[in-house]
């Protein structure tokens, strides 16, 4: 009996690495600390009522934001471990298998569990406010999306202390990811972690499309909608077409592993190349899914901080909509070297170059917006300005990679690694950070400290170039990705060391930002006006932090940049005050079902990961029970009485 338990524990828990034992200890300690604090201050009820069961889009946005920052930390630590391993030749810090696990989890976490939730954080924090709506179209589904993401991410993340991490690369190509070469639970963690959070992403895509099409304030025609909301629409269209492909592809891979099917196997009529073909049909649009909202953020920030209307609004909208479609026609450029006919390669090389054009248009529009504008260099604008040269270099190297014959040289080299980090950090991370700095006061009621933010900004930026510029050169010098060590004779030592220094500079930048948030909670400049940046769109017309019902009176939109027009009219004296008539506000009720259901999904994923079908069955029964319970719930909404609205507004310093 005792022997059995010992046997089980030694395979169930990851053993043998001091780094892992350190992580075990810190996980246990943090859980104890959290439980202790919640119990001591009697906060369990508060946690359940105010957060775990909430359907308020702003709170869900905040939870997404916290989760994504934690994941940024985890993925960042992975990156630093890799850079330490590569800092000098022949380092024996990580062994090859541990290195494989770390580059796999770094990639997967950064794209799926950092970029995606940070994007959804911004969707949730901003879109309903910008549209003049009181919530998203389906608040319950929104909460469910968040919890599915969260539990999926947790399932993926526990793999490094329980069962073993996936180690077949961030896209888990077969045949390496098949049972034959990757036995054990690692790949199953990958599949189920992504599947569960992927359902959530798909639901979010649907939710925000409906919100944008149906929930805009009266008078806000699509042609007057702010550009960030347009970018969300574009991103969500790509989500609803791309994510089902990912779901199906991973389901087929799971059938191969679990049920002995032969979709992507080497024998039995399977074809592993089909997996590459399918996964990149999701993978390429995915890149645009995360970067297009960043373009929307930049458009808002550039206009606000240049005190000008955005240049070329229509061309911006067209560019984003064209990207939403054309991004589906470029996937094969990820595997030019797989071997296929010349006409296929020519088609995909040209389509890849074409998809760069709308992006170029947008860059020019931002520059023309700044031209002769009165620019103020606040934090959101700093990140925006830093983004432009960074993304232009990333785009140019992208077009270099699109040249198919040359791609045979760059393929899987550090040139490629440098390129995609340049577009993903320079585009996505800079964009989302800019957005977070910009909308932070609206959510939390205070600004983030400028001085600490600038330290963070410069460490990030300098660190970025120090880290990735040498990698372009390393690529040309023949260093391919996923090497875990190299010899002195290769001549890669100096540049790798420089690159590692850069990575640590970015890490210091992140520490400054954490410090900045902690410092600003206490000492940050409070935003009493609700409009700290002299903004242009509707979210700046309400107090900060936004009350739970967002708008006491639903705004009547007349112009594009309606809030700016209102302010100008007030300044000219042409503004006609319309008597505000308060009405009871219709709001959704909180629900615990999303949280409970996501936990049952976690059981499903965990059961399948270890091949414990009984556990998966219990999970599925729980999931269906939750759906059943929800279907017969009729008491899902309520009205906020006028008196309460008036009280809340008064407490925020507004008279209605």
């Amino acid at each position: 009996m005792w022997e059995n338990i010992k046997d089980f524990a030694s395979t169930f828990f990851v053993t043998g690495d001091p780094l892992i034992y350190g992580a075990d200890v810190s996980i246990v300690l943090s859980i104890i600390a959290i439980v202790f604090v919640l119990t001591k201050y009697k906060k369990w009820g508060w946690l359940w009522r105010e957060w775990l069961t909430t359907v308020d889009h702003k709170r869900i946005g905040i939870m997404y934001l916290i989760a994504s920052l934690l994941m940024l930390f985890r993925g960042g630590v992975d990156a630093l471990l890799m850079r330490l391993q590569l800092a000098f030749p022949n380092v024996e810090f990580l062994n090859s298998e541990h290195y494989n696990a770390i580059f796999t989890t770094h990639g997967t976490i950064m794209i799926l569990f950092m970029a995606m939730p940070m994007m959804f954080a911004l969707f949730n924090m901003v879109v309903p406010l910008q549209l003049g709506a009181r919530d998203v179209a389906y608040p319950f589904l929104n909460a469910l999306s968040f919890w599915l993401f969260m539990l999926g991410a947790m399932l993926f993340n526990i793999s490094f202390v329980i069962g073993g991490s996936p180690d077949a690369g961030w896209l888990s190509y077969p045949p390496l990811s098949q049972n034959e070469f990757s036995p054990g639970p690692g790949q199953n963690f990958y599949i189920w972690g992504i599947q569960i959070s992927g359902i959530g992403s798909l639901a979010t895509g649907i939710n925000f499309i409906v919100t944008i099409l149906k929930m805009r304030a009266p008078g806000m025609k699509l042609s007057k909608m702010p550009l960030f909301s347009w970018s969300v629409l574009s991103s969500c269209i790509m989500i609803i077409f791309a994510f089902p492909i990912l779901t199906v592809t991973l389901a087929l891979l799971f059938l191969d592993r679990f049920a002995g099917a032969h979709f992507f196997t080497m024998d039995g009529g399977g074809n592993p190349m089909m997996y590459l073909n399918l996964i990149w049909m999701w993978g390429h649009p995915e890149v645009y899914i995360v970067v297009v909202p960043a373009f929307g953020i930049f458009s808002e920030i550039v206009a606000t901080f240049s005190r000008k209307k955005i240049f070329g609004y229509k061309s911006m909208v067209w560019a984003m909509m064209i990207i939403a479609v054309v991004s589906f026609f470029t996937w094969a450029h990820h595997f030019f070297t797989m071997g296929t006919s010349a006409s296929v390669i020519a088609f995909f090389a040209i389509s890849t170059m074409i998809v760069g054009i709308p992006t170029g248009v947008k860059v020019f529009n931002w520059l023309f917006t700044m031209y002769r504008g009165r620019i103020s260099f606040k934090q959101p604008m700093l990140w925006t300005i830093a983004f432009i040269p960074c993304f232009v270099i990333g785009g140019a190297t992208g077009v270099m990679l699109a040249v198919a014959p040359a791609d045979y040289q760059y393929h899987n080299s550090y040139f490629l690694v440098a390129h995609f980090h340049q577009v993903l950090i320079g585009g996505v991370v800079f964009g989302y950070l800019a957005g977070i700095y910009y909308w932070w006061p609206k959510l939390f009621g205070f600004k983030l400290d400028e001085k600490l933010g600038k330290w963070g900004f410069w460490f990030w930026n300098i660190g970025f170039y120090v880290c990735f510029m040498p990698q372009y050169a390393l690529g040309f010098m023949g260093m391919t990705r996923r090497y875990y060590t190299y010899g002195w004779d290769r001549g890669w030592a100096d540049l790798n060391l420089v690159s590692t220094v850069g990575a640590f500079l970015m890490g210091i930048g992140f520490i400054f930002q954490v410090w900045q948030i902690a410092y600003s909670i206490k000492n940050g400049e409070r935003d009493t006006t609700g409009d700290p940046w002299n903004g242009r769109t509707l979210e700046w017309s309400i107090p900060s932090p936004a009350p739970f019902y967002n708008f006491a009176v639903v705004p009547q939109v007349k112009e594009m940049d309606d809030w700016w027009a209102t302010k100008e009219a007030k300044a000219n004296g042409t503004y006609k005050e319309e008597p505000a008539k308060l009405e009871p506000i219709h709001m959704p009720k909180n629900s615990g079902i999303p949280f409970i259901m996501a936990n049952f999904w976690f059981l499903v994923g965990f059961g399948f990961t270890f091949g414990w079908v009984w556990m998966a069955v219990i999970g599925f029964i729980g999931v269906f029970a939750c759906m059943w319970a929800r279907s017969f719930q009729y008491d899902t909404d309520y009205y906020v009485p006028v008196e309460e609205v008036r009280r809340t507004e008064a407490s925020l310093g507004r008279v209605v």
């Binding site: 099409l213 149906k214 296929t340 296929v344 959704p588």
Partner: protein, 105 residues
């Protein structure tokens, strides 16, 4: 939500009869390919064509009986979305064939 308070009850989303017909049709359309493949009744090409036809019919059944494609207030949205969806489905199927068939030999 506040903007459309008269939710529920106004638009009838199909009748019981419609749902039952849709359900039966979709089951039948699933069973036919399964039986054909399990018992190897037709030749390879004929099986593939039958499966493809069944898939397209299944798609239509889903749209008509469960997605209520005919009912929207603004059919223009439906048509636009449907066209984009078809373009993407075509890209996935035809694109995969185009890329992968070369690879096979």
């Amino acid at each position: 939500m506040a903007q459309h308070q008269n939710h529920g009850g106004h638009h009838s989303h199909g009748s019981m009869k419609e749902y039952v017909i849709g359900f039966i049709l979709s089951i039948v359309l699933t069973i036919i390919p399964l039986v054909l493949v399990m018992n190897s009744i037709l030749s390879k090409t004929a099986t593939m064509i039958t499966i493809l036809v069944m898939a397209v019919l299944q798609f239509v059944v889903q749209l008509v009986f469960f997605m209520h494609i005919r009912e929207g207030e603004k059919p223009r949205y439906n048509v636009q979305t449907l066209i984009l969806g078809l373009v993407i489905v075509f890209t996935i199927v035809a694109g995969s064939l185009w890329i992968m068939l070369f690879n096979k030999y």
